[in-house]
C-alpha cells in the first residue's frame, strides 16, 4: 500500500491555489459526481476528462496516479463477486458457465465503480497539489472543529515516524531470521506493536512537555498562508459550474 501523499512539490497554478479553494472545489465536485444517475455513461467520461486535464495541468506523473487508484480496486472485486446474486428477476443479462449476470447488476457495479474511481481521483488531485499541512490549515479556516483538525495534523506528522519505526522493528526481526507466517505467530507481532505504543505514548508525553516549555496553552496558531481572493473564487466557481452543468445534462438526456 502506498504511503500517504506528501503533497508533491510543483509550481503549477493548481499548486499555488489557495487550499480552501481546492478543498471546496474537489469535495464539491465529488459530491456532484456521486449524485449523477449511473446510466448517463458519457457524463462520467466528461468528469474523468476534467480531472485528467487538471492532473496534466499540475504535471502529476501517471504512474503515481495509477498506484494510488489501486486502493479502490479490492473493494470493487468484492462487489463483483456479488453480481451473480443481484436482482435475478431483472430482464436481459449474460450467462457464463452457469452464472447469470443481469443488466441491473452490471449497472450497480458500474455506478459504484465509476464513482469510487472518480472520487478517489479527485482526492488524488487534491493530495498531489496540496501539502498536508496546507490541507489542515484550509480545513481549520473553513471552520472545521479545531481540536479534531489539530489532532489530524499531529497524527500526520508523526505517522511517518511511527511507520518508519514499525518497519525498523520488523527489519530487526527479519535480520534475526524471524518470519511470522501463521495465526499463532501473532503474539510476537502484538508485543512488537505494544512496544511501539509505549514508545509513541512516551514520545507524545515528551512532545507535550516540549510544547509546554515553548508556551503552549492548548491552541496552535497555524498563521496566514495564501489568500482565497479572486483566483480561488474563480476556481471553485468554474469547477462546480462545470460539474453541475454535466450533472444537469445527464439527468435531462439520461443515457443519450
Amino acid at each position: 500500500m502506498p504511503l500517504l501523499a506528501e503533497g508533491r512539490a510543483g509550481k503549477s497554478p493548481l499548486h499555488r491555489l489557495d487550499a480552501r479553494a481546492k478543498i471546496l472545489g474537489f469535495v464539491g465536485f465529488t459530491v456532484v459526481v456521486v449524485s449523477t444517475p449511473a446510466h448517463a455513461v458519457w457524463a462520467f467520461i466528461l468528469y474523468a476528462t476534467v480531472l485528467v486535464f487538471l492532473l496534466g495541468l499540475a504535471r502529476v506523473p501517471p504512474a503515481y496516479v495509477l498506484r494510488r487508484i489501486l486502493v479502490v480496486v479490492p473493494f470493487l472485486l468484492v462487489v463483483a463477486c456479488f453480481l451473480p446474486f443481484f436482482h435475478r428477476a431483472g430482464a436481459g443479462g449474460y450467462s457464463l458457465g452457469g452464472l447469470h449476470v443481469t443488466g441491473e447488476g452490471l449497472l450497480v457495479l458500474w455506478n459504484a465503480g465509476a464513482k469510487a474511481v472518480l472520487g478517489a481521483l479527485s482526492m488524488i488531485v487534491l493530495g498531489a497539489t496540496t501539502g498536508f499541512s496546507d490541507i489542515v490549515w484550509g480545513f481549520e479556516r473553513l471552520r472545521a472543529p479545531k481540536v479534531l483538525i489539530l489532532i489530524v495534523g499531529f497524527m500526520y506528522r508523526y505517522s511517518f515516524v511511527f511507520v518508519e519505526e514499525a518497519r525498523r522493528m520488523r527489519r530487526a526481526m527479519t535480520s534475526r531470521n524471524y518470519r511470522a507466517r501463521w495465526l499463532w505467530n501473532i503474539p510476537v507481532l502484538g508485543h512488537m506493536l505494544g512496544a511501539l505504543f509505549l514508545r509513541s505514548y512516551s514520545r507524545g508525553e515528551r512532545v507535550y512537555v516540549a510544547m509546554l516549555s515553548r508556551g503552549y496553552e492548548g491552541t496552535i496558531h497555524l498563521g496566514e498562508r495564501t489568500t482565497f481572493g479572486l483566483t480561488g473564487a474563480a476556481f471553485v466557481g468554474s469547477i462546480l459550474a462545470l460539474a453541475v452543468t454535466i450533472r444537469t445534462l445527464a439527468s435531462i438526456w439520461g443515457a443519450a
Binding site: 456479488f82 489530524v152 506528522r157 495465526l183
Partner: protein
Amino acid sequence: MHIPDGFIDAPTAVAAGAVSVGLIAYALRKTGKHLGERTVPLLGVTAAFIFAAQMLNFPVAGGTSGHVLGAVLCVALVGPWAAAIVMTAVLLVQALGMADGGITALGANVFNMGLVAVLVGFGLLAVLKRLLPRTLTGYMISVAVASWVSVVAASAAASLELALSGTVPLGVALPTMISVHMIIGLGEAAITTAVVGAVLAARPDLVGSFDLSLPRSRPALHGAGRRTRFWAFVAGTVVVAVALAVFVAPFASSSPDGLERVAADQGFESAATAEPLWGSSPFGDYQMPGVANGKVATAVAGLVGTLILFALVLLTGRVLGRRRAAASPGLAGAQDSPSDFGAPRGQA
C-alpha cells in the same frame, strides 16, 4: 471495510454523516474536558500509532495476511470517546491522504469503524468486566471477545448501509460480510490481546480500562449511581441484541444464503443428504422447531442462539478465569510494581 464513493446513496450518507458529526462533537467536548490541553498531542500521537499499526500486516495462514482495525485496542488504551476521535482522525487522513474510503462516504465510515466498533467494543468490555472474574485472564478474554465482536459489528453496519443504498441486497451483504469478518475478527482479537498484554506488562497505568483492583483502591466506583448506570447499560445492550436478532435476522435470511441459492439454481440442492451430520441440530436452518410461522421461528431461533452464545462466552470465561486465579495469587502485585518506563501518566 473502507467504503468508497458511490457505494452508498445520498440519504444513507447524510444520515450516517449526521449521526457521526453529532457523536464526534460530543466526544470532542467530553475528551477536551478530560484531557484538557494535552488532548491534541496525546490523541494525535495515539492516532499515528493506530495508523502505523494498520499498516503492519499480520499473518493469517500461509501467505495470506490481514491488518488490525484497532478500535478496541484504542478503547482499552485511551477510553471510548478518545478512541472515537482517534479513529475519526485516522479515517480522515486515510480519506484525504490516501484516497482510502470515499470523501462522501466518510460519515458512514466514521459511523462504522469510529462509532459502532468503538462503542460496541466499549460496551462489551464494560459488561464482561462485571460478569467475568476480575483476573488478568478474565480481562484478556473480555478484550478478545470485544475486539472480535467490534469487527463483526462494524461489518454488519457497513453491509446494512450498502443494502439500504441498494448496492448489495441485505440477504447477500450481511451473511457475506459477517462471515468474512468473523474470520478477520480472530486476527483482530489475537493481536489486540497481545498488544494490550504487552502494554499491561510494562505500564499498566496506561491501560485505562484495566482496573481490576478497583474494590480495594477505588471503592467509590461501587456506589449506587454507578451500579444503576451499569444495569441500565446492560439492559440497553440486551435490548439492542434482541432487536437485532428478532428484526434483522428474519429479514436477512428471508432469502437463502449464497451457496444455498446456487445449489437451488443448479439443482444440486436435492443432492444434499436428507439426514446430514448436523441434521439433528436443534435449530437446523435457523428455524425453531414447533413454531409454525417461518419469520417468527427464525426470530426466535436468532434470539435463542444469541443468548446461548452469550452464556457460552460467560461460562468459558468464568471457568478459565477461576482456574488461572487459583494458579496465580491475583494481579494486585502487578499494579503496585514500579513501571519500567519513567513517570506514570499523571505526572507528565
